[in-house]
């Protein structure tokens, strides 16, 4: 199936840093893709290049199998990390304006704005100026503005940062509905738990490079055999020094996640641990994204 969005060897360098260093990705239609990485990894620059806000030094952006054109941008919804609204415009005028920029005729824009405002329980605010709304209400208007023209692909840069918990829930619900309709969603985040619940596939980015990507379930399966939950009394810190142990992530209250090398001897590790720990539990567990991420970054280095 032709990917809805494909990036080929995207690269962007500034005077003293390489922000994005040869990023290649493919996002199949109807899926949710998470671009994950710490702050400064190159997520925003990558997404801005997708939207033609920044021109890449080299590489290509493909939309539905061919080079993405300016006209395609109207079929993509974009919510930047730095976002806001014209404070003096009325809510409905603002939504109609954003729709019009993306080719939605005014009359239709007005209808859809009304639908969206009703759905978000903001129908009463339609004629109010943006500045008269609470921050949470403004966030809802912003979300409606991103989706009003019903884009086939939605690009969201840190979509949940700054959203209050109620709007986070609302937004996730809307995105789930969007996915059911067969639309494609790409979002970036540095909060890995969010991605874990929403994504079909992920791309891990670190220092401008993709260090791991693929279907989330497959990644977890692949790494699952080597991840364990350990509950024990004693000095957990010594575990990390054992042969075959890649990493120990303390989880509090005498618990920790232990990651073993693929070729490690599980029984041998357990035997050695028992020598200095009072082990109560040592069971295989699905790795959390954080673990996968830390490992992928280390492997790449």
């Amino acid at each position: 199936m032709t990917p809805t969005l494909e990036l080929r060897e995207l690269r962007k360098a500034y005077r003293d840093t390489v922000a994005v260093d040869g990023v290649s990705l493919a996002v199949p239609p109807g899926t949710v893709f998470g671009l994950l990485g710490p702050n400064g990894a190159g997520k925003t620059t990558t997404l801005r290049m997708v939207m033609d806000i920044i021109a890449p030094d080299s590489g290509a952006v493909l939309f539905a199998g061919r080079a993405r054109t300016r006209a395609d941008l109207e079929r993509i919804g974009y919510l930047p990390e730095e976002r806001g609204l014209y404070r003096k415009m009325t809510v409905v005028d603002h939504l109609v304006f954003l729709g019009e920029l993306n080719g939605l005729p005014r009359r239709e824009g007005r209808e859809r704005a009304r639908e969206w405002l009703e759905r978000m329980e903001l129908a009463d605010a339609a004629g109010k100026k943006v500045e008269e709304l609470s921050k949470g209400m403004q966030q809802k208007v912003q979300i409606a503005g991103t989706l009003l023209h019903e884009p086939e692909l939605v690009i969201l840069d840190e979509p949940f940062s700054g959203l209050d918990p109620i709007n986070q829930g609302l937004f996730k619900e809307i995105l789930a509905g969007y996915k059911r309709e067969g639309r494609t969603i790409v979002f970036s985040t540095h909060v890995l738990e969010q991605a874990e619940k929403l994504c079909d596939s992920i791309g891990l980015i670190s220092r401008g490079r993709i260090v791991l990507d693929g279907e989330l379930a497959a990644i977890k399966r692949e790494m699952g055999g080597n991840s364990f939950r350990l509950v024990a009394a004693g000095d957990l810190g010594r575990v990390a020094a054992l042969a075959g142990v890649v990493q120990v992530l303390p989880a509090g209250d005498g618990a920790a996640r232990v990651l073993l090398a693929p070729d490690a001897d599980r029984a041998a590790v357990l035997r050695e641990m028992v020598a200095f720990l009072d082990v109560r539990e040592f069971v295989g567990a699905e790795p959390e994204l954080e673990e996968i991420f830390v490992r992928a970054v280390r492997d790449a280095a």
Partner: protein, 435 residues
């Protein structure tokens, strides 16, 4: 609720952005307050003094003592029909002639008493001896009513001159004819033939046009600056440039604000014409009879509009670039001085240019792109320059507009996404090179 994006048409983004910019301004209360307050203030400025003047000069009660006994009646007659001055009857003077008494000192004291009591405003003494020294006395509590004094002096002067001519043996009948005043009839020479037009009128037209251009460019250039800063600080800008080019955003902003400016200008002109017509007519009527209003000919109006549009884009793009480069108005303040300096500079040369529109100074200044938009229309209004000079001014200004819009669009493209640190000049130069 999935709908197919079937009837999708490519929107003209500059038009969409222009429309938003224009409507959001024209719909705001502030716009109409500013638009209506200025004409109201101007009207007050024109009409009030006129009304006050008219009231204060309602009537001056003056006693005239004429020792010669030959001048009083003539002076009184002249003052009964005062000349029009500034559109009003400048000074109406009611003259009461009092014969000289046997005791001049007592009569003077009595007149002083009447002035102090307020029953008369002034008294005039035409003494035989002092008249030989060309002096007539004027006594009043206030001696700063220069208009009234000028009117009285003129009346007395004309009567005295006539009396002296009669004394020199001229026929009294002919004296009136021979001493009629002369006025300067200024005729403007144009290829279409001469046309009588007052010198003041041409000056007022040229200066008025200059001032209007200057005011509109200044006010609306600043509006562009604050508009860009607002988009940056409200963080709306990245949402917009995800579908419209930064160049579209900039052009939409410039055009929308420019149209709002034109709307305001139109309202001002209409209001000014309606409200202060009596005031203007009054001011122009200062030139005596035979005066004709200056005509804003079609070529002059078209050049005015042409240079206005070019000048607006020239300066507005500069303001847009400054707005894009900085984070807030405080940071931008230092650099707004650059476009403002270019706007203000022509003020220094505009009077010499109006006075001598063919001078080397006028020619050179009206060709320099940043000055041309305000100086060339003034030259056109005063005296049509050679066609090649006008064409060159258009060409140079248009070239400057293209170059500046290009340059500013690059600064804009990078600057609108920059937040936080105030950029250095070197960084801005880099934006232009790498954008």
């Amino acid at each position: 609720m999935r709908r197919e994006a079937a009837a999708r048409r490519r929107p003209n983004k500059i038009a969409v952005l222009t429309r938003r910019e224009y409507l959001s301004r024209v719909k705001s209360k502030g716009f109409w307050v500013a638009t209506l307050v200025l004409p109201a203030a101007m009207a007050a400025l024109f009409v009030l003094p006129t009304m006050i003047l008219a009231r204060t000069h309602a009537e001056q009660r003056v006693v005239l003592v004429d020792e010669t006994a030959r001048l009083g009646a003539g002076v009184a007659a002249r003052l009964a029909e005062p000349p029009a001055l500034g559109g009003l009857e400048a000074a109406r003077v009611a003259v009461e002639i009092e014969p000289p008494a046997a005791d001049p000192a007592a009569q003077r004291a009595a007149l002083d008493a009447r002035v102090l009591a307020g029953s008369i405003d002034a008294w005039i003494w035409i003494g035989r001896e002092r008249l030989a020294d060309d002096v007539v006395e004027y006594h009043a509590e206030s001696v700063s009513n220069v208009i009234t004094q000028a009117v009285i002096a003129e009346a007395v002067e004309r009567e005295v001159a006539a009396m002296r001519l009669v004394d020199a043996g001229f026929d009294p009948e002919r004296v009136g004819e021979l001493t009629r005043p002369v006025r300067l009839a200024t005729v403007r020479v144009t290829p279409e033939g001469g046309r009588e037009e007052a010198g003041e009128a041409g000056f007022f037209l040229a200066y008025g046009m200059f001032f209007m251009l200057y005011l509109v460019l200044m006010i609306w250039g600043q509006q562009v600056l604050t508009g860009v800063l607002e988009e940056k600080s409200s963080r709306i800008v990245e949402v917009i440039v995800s579908t419209a080019r930064p160049f579209d955003l900039m052009m939409g902003k410039l055009t929308g604000i420019g149209l709002a400016g034109l709307t305001q200008l139109t309202v001002w002109l209409v209001c000014l014409a309606a409200l202060s017509a009596p005031g203007i007519a009054g001011a122009l009527a200062a030139t005596p009879e035979g005066f004709t209003l200056p005509v804003l000919t079609l070529p002059v109006a078209l050049h005015f509009l042409g240079f206005f549009v070019l000048g607006y884009f020239l300066f507005a793009s500069l303001f847009a670039a400054v707005g894009a480069a900085f984070n807030n108005i405080q940071e931008a303040q230092h650099f707004t001085g650059i476009p403002i300096a270019f706007l203000v500079a022509p003020v220094l040369v505009i009077f010499p240019v109006i006075n001598d529109p063919d001078s080397t100074l006028a020619t050179v200044v009206s060709l320099i792109p940043l000055f041309a938009p305000v100086v060339m229309p003034v030259r056109v209004a005063v005296k049509m320059p050679p066609a090649w000079e006008i064409a060159l001014a258009y060409l140079l200004t248009a070239a400057a507009v293209v170059a500046l819009v290009w340059l500013c669009a690059r600064i804009y493209r990078v600057g609108i996404l920059m937040h936080g640190k105030k950029p250095t000049l070197a960084e801005i130069v880099r934006w232009v090179r790498y954008a």
